[in-house]
Assembly symmetry: C2
Homo-oligomer: 434 residues x 2
Amino acid sequence: MSVNIRRLSSKQADFSKQMNDLLSWESVSDDAVNGRVLEIIKAIRERGDAALVEYSQKFDRVSAKSMADLTFDKARIQEALHRISPEQRKGLELSAERIRLYHEHQKQESWRYTEADGTILGQKITPLDRVGLYVPGGKASYPSSVLMNAVPAKVAGVQEVVMVVPTPDDEVNDIVLAAAAVAGVDRVFAVGGAQAVAALAYGTETVPPVDKIVGPGNIYVATAKRHVFGKVGIDMIAGPSEILVVCDGGTNPDWVAMDLFSQAEHDEDAQAILICEDAAFIDQVEASINKLLPTMEREKIIRTSLEARGALIHVGSKEEALEVANIVAPEHLELSVADPESWLPGIRHAGAIFMGRYTAESIGDYCAGPNHVLPTSGTARYSSPLGVYDFQKRSSIIFCSENGAAELGKTASVLARGESLTAHARSAEYRMKK
Amino acid sequence: MSVNIRRLSSKQADFSKQMNDLLSWESVSDDAVNGRVLEIIKAIRERGDAALVEYSQKFDRVSAKSMADLTFDKARIQEALHRISPEQRKGLELSAERIRLYHEHQKQESWRYTEADGTILGQKITPLDRVGLYVPGGKASYPSSVLMNAVPAKVAGVQEVVMVVPTPDDEVNDIVLAAAAVAGVDRVFAVGGAQAVAALAYGTETVPPVDKIVGPGNIYVATAKRHVFGKVGIDMIAGPSEILVVCDGGTNPDWVAMDLFSQAEHDEDAQAILICEDAAFIDQVEASINKLLPTMEREKIIRTSLEARGALIHVGSKEEALEVANIVAPEHLELSVADPESWLPGIRHAGAIFMGRYTAESIGDYCAGPNHVLPTSGTARYSSPLGVYDFQKRSSIIFCSENGAAELGKTASVLARGESLTAHARSAEYRMKK
């Protein structure tokens, strides 16, 4: 049965309405979920470890009797490196090393400058003290996500990275533990769900409270992160994964089809879109989709995703292609064209840009170096890939000389009095020369 | 009547509980407010300008009949520069120029590097397209906030800064409009409240939709910002203002008292704390507080704030002072000491650090250059002052050479198959040399 993927053309009169429909995505906030999550957070704040163990017994069906049973000690984490295949270990180590090298470029340093009167201004950059990393259990448990979240934190200089990963039915994922070892994660607890998020935010007798929580999770985890935001920092709440392939018609259509599949296979809500000026090439890609789909392990997920949210879009020009790409502001953008550098200046919004025919999006997911935690659902219009900057923070530095204080005091005094803030004005005036 | 400000000592057995009580602050989320805000957002999304005008008539009691009446054109904005005093204009211009000079240092540039096999990796930095700036009306309307929010956006390269400021009872604040002119704000609408936030997030016939909304506001504005987050970016939701003064006992106690007042006068919930090793000096500051308070215009607000949330804390050593300062993680930290540079390395968490006896916090509020939009309520543990980086975003760049794709494909293939993501693996394998 051929895939029923929608075809759009920028020539259609209702093209912009069609695009709106295609891109519309609102995450639903469910009162029932909110209520359960708030109850869990309350229980963890009030009863700490006891509640954490109870929820793990209930939701993850673990045999553990105490937090000691739900704690991986350093030896067990290191042991995981020997429980996976040497090939997998090498893959993790190579990937971690490339991620580290790339992210070193993002590290920001403190800076300051001195003005003529001796006043010093600047910014002091410091790492966060302690970060919590949520890793989902079961089939959505991705060791690559451990590397992508933990390595930038360590590059930033975070002293302690605390990972939580549930072990449903006592099943331990050794590749995930091995990834934690490779990334230098400091502590690992076998807990998950909203209860793990609450424990990281507020701390329990065993789990230390962190300053920021990062990492993906299901609706309970995402809802809990929203609720503890403010008490701790959080990373973005990710929507479904997306890819937008812009092709000039010169790439092997099988490659393009497989690139679309590589997002569509994530889940039924994932979005895979092709933009091309060449209608005949779009036909070829559609043929490749129909030819290759039956050979895919995740055929059903891919089909549902492509039929529900996929699109093949025909445009009239390179300018139109760029315009549509910027409207989509995709998480992953492949410029599968002969001269991607000539396209780059026109791209304003994208999480990650994969340039040229040889740069498969999946290389970026694992080992190119850049982060695979990227803004989704058009949020690339205002946000960025996860990076070292998410684990550093800044403090302004102001050090006035006597002359500087006297001079700046005049302006502060005028503006403060204009805002009727007299204490502000008088505080500045005290430092003005008599 | 003398001020009843609490005195704490690190020697007390229950000191850490006392500190917890002192610092506890949770913003209440009110169902009634949430309900009204959601209703307003819905109305703006459905009825656009018409709803925006109606709410402005109802809540701000404006005489306007249409959005044309609620739009300041360029001429009116420029005119404001002539309606304020020359001294105020000079103050705004000097302040804006210093803010611009400081923030130029924060501007980030795209970067890339090329690996041995020709693979290019990097990050492309772009400004946000369009930003919305909320400015409160009435007495909380601070022209300095216009500068602090708009200037960094313009330094980042934001094409269009759209400001909203309500005009309750048709009253226009010319200093605020003048600040908009000085900061290069592009468009100004005389609307406010949740309806203005909704208009900026979703757009109406007249108000263009923005990519991020920044600026302070009351509980309705803050709640609306929380609800539109995701559709657009938002800045932090600020809590009450705070100052922590660390003094070695060598500063004029009147200065210290006035510095504490300068935060306390903001509102009853503001927090002003002094830390000192010298108990006798703490007595002197308390005497100055009692002496100076009756001379303050905002005496009542300052007294309420100091009695409800203020504290004079005696500590046993410099190390203890630093430890307490890091626990507070204050918005404003004054190091009112002889050698502030020797203290700086020990400070891990603070929004802005004011070094030495001459650096009044209020200078930072207006004209030193650094931003006065700072993390509050201990969020300096994980967040930063508003800056140019809040108006820029990053896109990862990955451009594999043929050889790079072949080599990296091996690792991607192993790791993808480890995660059962076959399309990911095959997409990478297509690019591996046969």
